[in-house]
């Protein structure tokens, strides 16, 4: 994993000192709110519905055990004992006091964590495959490239005042586990006869106007990524709309110009602005950075590890169920990656208390070379666990309520904070997630429904990524009441697709029963149990589900008190 060097540390410390001074001047009345708001947002500090919220980027979702312990300490000392994993692999604290913010940033900086560019019209956290360096199908480890881009694009004045926020994701496998087509720039690294190439996509994004990224380049030599990404950003800086909030994202520019014209402009900028020294610098830096990502030592007797795992699975059906859903193959024989879903049915998706953070940090140190990953599905991953140690790990997770066997199952549902926390939200999303997960768990449907991605957003900004859920739920406000619109057929994987809306929105009371009816219909009409819900929707078409969604709910109350 990447570790800050002296330059990184000094840069972050200087930034903390600067922000501490800004906070002091604000509290002393020497900065007005309008001036200060921009400064605190540049440091990840939002003012949300109930309090200040601090967003801490977890670069490409990679976290060390000591960093997770630091987050636990921040949760206990400065917040209300918990943190929230977001859909962009970040961590958020919902109750930070402004007077404490400098101390929090100082403590985070000691652990090489910094909320720089966590907000504002800048390059946000570059996200990646949570199984980077682990997945057997990986062609190129994306993490060194993410770190190179992160360093290149951090505090660069040229990209600090973009027309709007800018999101990037990088993967190194055919399977897309980072939703690259839903990003302003998506990069898939691949290998061609030993040389690393990059497929570059641009113009993706969810929110008010969801669009999937389109291909700009299929086979860019990866060492050209710095000048090529800079050319895209310069094109965006020059032509992106600054006069209209809803038309300011890169996707709108790509859409308005058309991909061919956009590509022509980018290529011209790239040809004119390509600096050979930048390419050389990138090459040298990549070599330096890549040393941080050497695979941890895995000297084990793989056959013995596998034999132990097989015996443990035979011995314990609950453990076997966990391995079947939450444990993935590792590129190193005798090892596995373990997904810890933060989705016990009824829990708040993505929430994690300080005790759980400390336990996971301990387990990561004992079993996973001190590494943890965050995922865009609001889960955590312990990436390097010996197969023979899985049962001991599972037992400790289970004792803490962290071994729910539901990764990418119906109850592993994703939800933004919604109207329970968010200034922008129009409806609550977490209570819908909780009620649905409880209902599914009570019916024992997780295993039977198979792979199913349910995504819930509390407003049109789509932080819950409902557009790309196999089932998406969008919370709205209609005539003063919460209302929920259903989409089906979306996908966040390599077969990325935007869901289709199934008619008018439903009330809070109607939404969960409607979703359950839809799933009953799927179970009754699917070809066989191997046909996923997504494949079923693609086969029968969304219209087949519309009728069952809008069937009357017998128990509907006469009046909605909300």
């Amino acid at each position: 994993m990447y570790r800050y060097d002296a330059h990184d540390r000094e840069l972050v410390r200087a930034r903390v000192r600067q922000f501490a001074d800004q906070v002091r001047r604000r509290l002393e009345g020497r900065l007005d709110e309008e001036t200060f708001r921009r400064l605190r947002l540049l440091n990840g500090l939002y003012l949300q519905l109930h309090a200040y919220m601090l967003r801490v980027p977890i670069p490409y979702g990679t976290l060390r055990a000591d960093q997770l312990r630091t987050l636990a300490e921040v949760a206990e000392r400065f917040d209300r004992g918990y943190a929230h994993v977001t859909t962009r692999q970040n961590v958020q604290f919902h109750w930070i006091r402004l007077v404490d913010a400098p101390a929090v940033l100082e403590r985070l900086a000691e652990a090489d964590l910094a909320p720089i560019q966590a907000c504002g019209n800048s390059i946000r956290n570059i996200t990646s495959d949570p199984f980077a360096g682990v997945a057997p199908d990986e062609e190129v480890d994306p993490r060194p490239w993410c770190e190179l881009l992160r360093q290149f694009l951090t505090l660069d004045p040229e990209v600090h005042f973009l027309p709007r926020k800018f999101k990037m994701a990088v993967i190194g496998a055919r399977r897309d586990r980072a939703m690259i087509r839903a990003h302003d720039i998506g990069i898939r690294l691949w290998r061609d006869d030993g040389r690393v190439r990059a497929e570059v996509l641009a113009g993706g994004g969810l929110g008010r106007t969801p669009m999937l990224g389109q291909r700009l380049r299929e086979d860019l030599p990866a060492e050209e990524l710095l000048p090529y990404v800079r050319a895209i950003l310069r094109t965006y800086n020059r032509f992106g709309r600054r006069d209209h909030l809803y038309r300011s994202r890169l996707k709108i520019l790509v859409h308005d110009l058309g991909i061919e014209r956009f590509r022509a402009v980018v290529e011209a900028e790239y040809a004119a602005g390509r600096d050979p020294e930048l390419v050389d610098l990138g090459r040298r830096e990549l070599a330096r950075i890549a040393r941080h990502f050497a695979s941890p030592a895995h000297a084990v007797d793989a056959a013995a590890e596998e034999a132990r795992l097989a015996a443990d699975r035979r011995h314990d059906s609950a453990f076997d169920a966990f391995v079947a859903t939450n444990v993935l193959r590792h590129r190193h024989p005798g090892h596995r990656a373990v997904v810890v879903t933060l989705k016990r049915p009824g829990a708040v998706p993505g929430d994690l208390d300080a005790a759980a953070m400390r336990l996971l940090a301990d387990l990561a140190e004992r079993h996973s070379f001190g590494e943890i990953r965050t995922t865009h599905e609001q889960d955590l991953v312990l990436p390097h666990v010996r197969a023979g140690a899985l049962r001991a790990l599972w037992a400790e997770l289970a004792a803490a309520g962290l071994a729910t066997p539901n990764w990418r199952r119906a109850t592993d549902l994703v939800s933004c904070p919604g109207l329970d926390y968010c200034q922008l939200a129009t409806a609550r999303s977490i209570p819908v997630a909780q009620e649905l997960a409880r209902a599914l768990a009570a019916r024992g449907l997780d295993r039977e429904l198979g792979e199913l991605a349910i995504r819930i957003s509390g407003c049109i900004n789509a932080c819950g990524q409902h557009h790309v859920g196999h089932i998406g739920v969008l919370g709205l406000e209609k005539r003063g009441r919460e209302a929920y619109q259903i989409t089906v057929g979306g996908s966040d994987a390599e077969d990325a697709a935007l869901g289709t809306v199934l008619g008018p929105a439903l009330s809070r009371e109607e939404i969960v029963p409607a979703l359950l009816r839809m799933l009953d219909l799927y179970r009754a009409r699917r070809r066989d149990p191997r046909e996923r819900f997504l494949d079923f929707v693609r086969r029968v078409g969304p219209a087949a589900l519309r009728e069952v969604i809008h069937a009357p709910t017998p128990a509907r109350p006469a009046r909605d008190p909300a």
């Binding site: 604000r26 109930h50 200040y52 007077v99």
Partner: protein
């Protein structure tokens, strides 16, 4: 002026003739506070209720002065109904703001610590 990521609160309390209270965030910790006779209070029950436009304008002016003085951030007027003397925000958003997140009952606050009156969701 507001930032794109923090738009202005919706002007839910601008309707003429309705009862309104002033809500804001305390600068030092961001907590939700209500303008009362004795200053900004965490308790919704203590909020001063403005009946009619002249009272609402006076309340807004006090809130704006306190924001300019750096006591609070983003003051807004919100529409309420008065139930047994307790101002109850009309919009769900403001009721959640008064109570705290509905998904963490242990973190919710009592809008009327002395009187025991409840804010229905």
């Amino acid at each position: 002026m507001t930032h794109k990521d923090e738009p202005a609160a919706r002007p839910g309390g601008r309707r003429a003739g309705t009862a309104r209270i002033a809500v804001a965030h305390r600068l030092t910790d961001g907590r939700v506070v209500y303008l009362a006779a004795s200053g900004w209070r965490e308790s919704l029950a203590e909020a001063t209720v403005a009946h009619g436009d002249p009272e609402a304008e006076a309340l807004a002016a006090r809130a704006a002065r306190d924001a300019a003085a750096g006591l609070v951030v983003d003051p807004t007027l919100v529409e309420v109904t008065v139930d047994h003397g307790l101002p109850v925000p009309v919009r769900l958003r403001e009721r959640i703001r008064a109570l705290g997140p509905t998904v963490h009952p242990e973190l919710q606050r009592d809008p009327d610590p002395r009187g025991g009156r409840r804010v229905p969701l």
